[in-house]
């Protein structure tokens, strides 16, 4: 039996005309607008920070800001030397990296070179749990668990100190270092390792003289990202490191980081438009620029120094 065949509309039929094209184009425009928003966010951040920071620098000289070492905007005799906050941030970030870099790198070498596949698949996600724990939890842990232990070791350590916050921050960013470094190491081709083994190298020699150098761009970029993360970290240092801006490298006394200062002012009642309020924009702008430079540097290191073996 012959079936009725419905012929599809050819060419400019009813369905393929403007009725079909218009919604298509409308959707494309909506999607385009939404992806433009991500660029608008960056513009917004820069505009918001710059706008208030410029009015701040109308009152305070830029020179005083970047060279002064006393930071007392919340007191009656105001001084705006941001180096006191930068010192706190640098101190905590350097100490945190002193914890995260060796532990993270050695963990990555273990996972990539030594661990059997089963253990690697078990341990890696557990390590990444460390990165998923909210920072306020680490702050609690630093202040109420690590600090009492440190104070038990040495009576010179204050209740709020950079050391405790840094150790805990190091643990927090450790998975970032280990995970990204391990990915870089595992992408080193097998035949490089096998060539080294064939020459009689031990596993230590293969790991440190072949794999790590070959993966160095990835490891470096992980390291820089981790530093950037440490600089931007807020809650651990707010809770455990104190609110006492001091131009010092002493890890045993209370300090204040750039991020902790922003929280301190936000929690207070600094009225919008006051000089205290404007300081957080100047500090945040500096923070934004520093982390942006580090992130760009990390991307540059990957693209510039990547070893290609294919």
């Amino acid at each position: 039996m012959a079936r009725d065949v419905v012929s599809p509309p050819l060419g400019r039929g009813s369905r393929s005309g403007w009725k079909r094209k218009l919604p298509e184009q409308a959707i494309a425009v909506v999607l385009f607008l939404s992806s433009s928003l991500s660029i608008l966010i960056t513009v917004g951040i820069v505009a918001v920070l710059l706008f208030e920071a410029i009015t701040f620098f109308a009152d305070v000289s830029l020179w005083e800001f970047i060279t002064g070492t006393r930071w007392t905007p919340l007191f009656s005799s105001k001084q705006f030397g941001v180096l006191a906050l930068v010192a706190g941030t640098t101190l905590t970030a350097v100490l945190a990296m002193a914890v995260a870099l060796p532990l993270g790198l050695l963990s990555a070498i273990y996972l990539s070179e030594y661990a059997p596949d089963g253990i690697r698949r078990l341990v890696k996600p557990i390590l990444e749990v460390l990165a998923g724990i909210p920072t306020v939890v680490y702050g609690y842990f630093a202040l109420l668990f690590v600090t009492p232990i440190l104070r038990g070791i040495s009576g010179d350590i204050a209740v709020f100190n950079a050391l405790s916050a840094s150790i805990v921050m190091g643990i927090m960013i450790l998975p970032m270092v280990s995970s990204l470094s391990e990915d870089a190491m595992r992408s080193v081709p097998r035949n490089l390792r096998e060539a080294a083994y064939a020459l009689g190298s031990t596993k230590l020699e293969v790991s440190t003289l072949v794999v790590v150098p070959a993966a160095l761009s990835g490891i470096m970029s992980a390291f820089i990202l981790a530093v950037s993360r440490a600089i931007g970290e807020t809650m651990i240092v707010t809770i455990a490191a104190g609110q006492n801006p001091s131009f010092t490298l002493n890890p045993f006394i209370p300090i204040e980081t750039m991020t902790a200062y922003i929280v301190q002012v936000s929690q207070g009642d600094a009225p919008a438009g006051s000089i205290e309020f404007k300081t957080i924009f100047a500090v945040a702008l500096l923070l934004f620029v520093i982390t942006l430079v580090m992130n760009l540097l990390s991307q540059y290191v990957v693209s510039r120094f990547r070893e290609e073996y294919e």
Binding site: P23, L31, S35, L106, L127, I133, G139, F141, I171, L204
Partner: protein, 294 residues
Amino acid sequence: MSVISQSEFQRRRARRKWMGRAFFGLCLLSVTIALGMLALLLVYLLIQGATGIDWSFLTSFASRHPDKAGIKAAMLGSIYVVIVAGVVSFTLGVATALYLEEYAGRSKFAKIAKINIANLAGVPSIVYGILGLQIFVHSLHLGKSVLAGGFTLALLVLPIVIVAAGEAVRAVPPSLREGSYALGATRWQVIWHMVIPQAFPGILTGVILAVSRAIGETAPLIAMGALTFVPFTPDSPLSRFTVLPIQIFNWTSRPQAGFQEAAAAGIIVLLVILLVMNAGAVILRNRFQNKWEG
């Protein structure tokens, strides 16, 4: 290259082997320390906080008395804020990922947008708080409300959703698209009927991860001006609020041991919520991977 005696060779070989073992021990020690710290953290929290969790803790408001203090307002605040953040970041993130993967291709716009998104992911969270304060609270006059908090966190986690959704969309086999185009489907019909359903588990995984990041964020909401003491439940999107991490922060900062125990109890609740969400994400991811690889 100089030739060495056999005894010298054996001496060096023994030394290299010994160093190899020592290095292995060092690597193993590092992993053990990392895992040990996690275990220590969790055990310490359980010891400090487990006794503090009961029905009244979950259903009471914050109080000046540690025994009566609870997390009702903070829990509800967290839930409301995260729902706003989840919905907004899901919508914007998926739309952006679809545009960049399906429409923009290798255009200059896509390139710039991707670099920009990578950098946004590295902006410290507190900077987003300041952005939220100026844009949502002041310029758009939303006040220090649930809506403003949710929008702020949505911007913060947007890069996570975009990257995850982008990967999920890229993982959809081109043959599926081509098959649909061959049947005469338009670009949006292909996306709506083929790409989105296939990529959905991956997209959802990304959204869950983004939301679990948002639920633990403290600093941006403090910078935006969320309250720290809230004896009421937010009753409208424009109502003021607090969230669980801020409540924990507030209790941690107090000297009384009772509040510190309440903080530990609050942390346990927060971690359980995160655990459930992440387990969901892992299950989804496994299902997703098996589909194409298994």
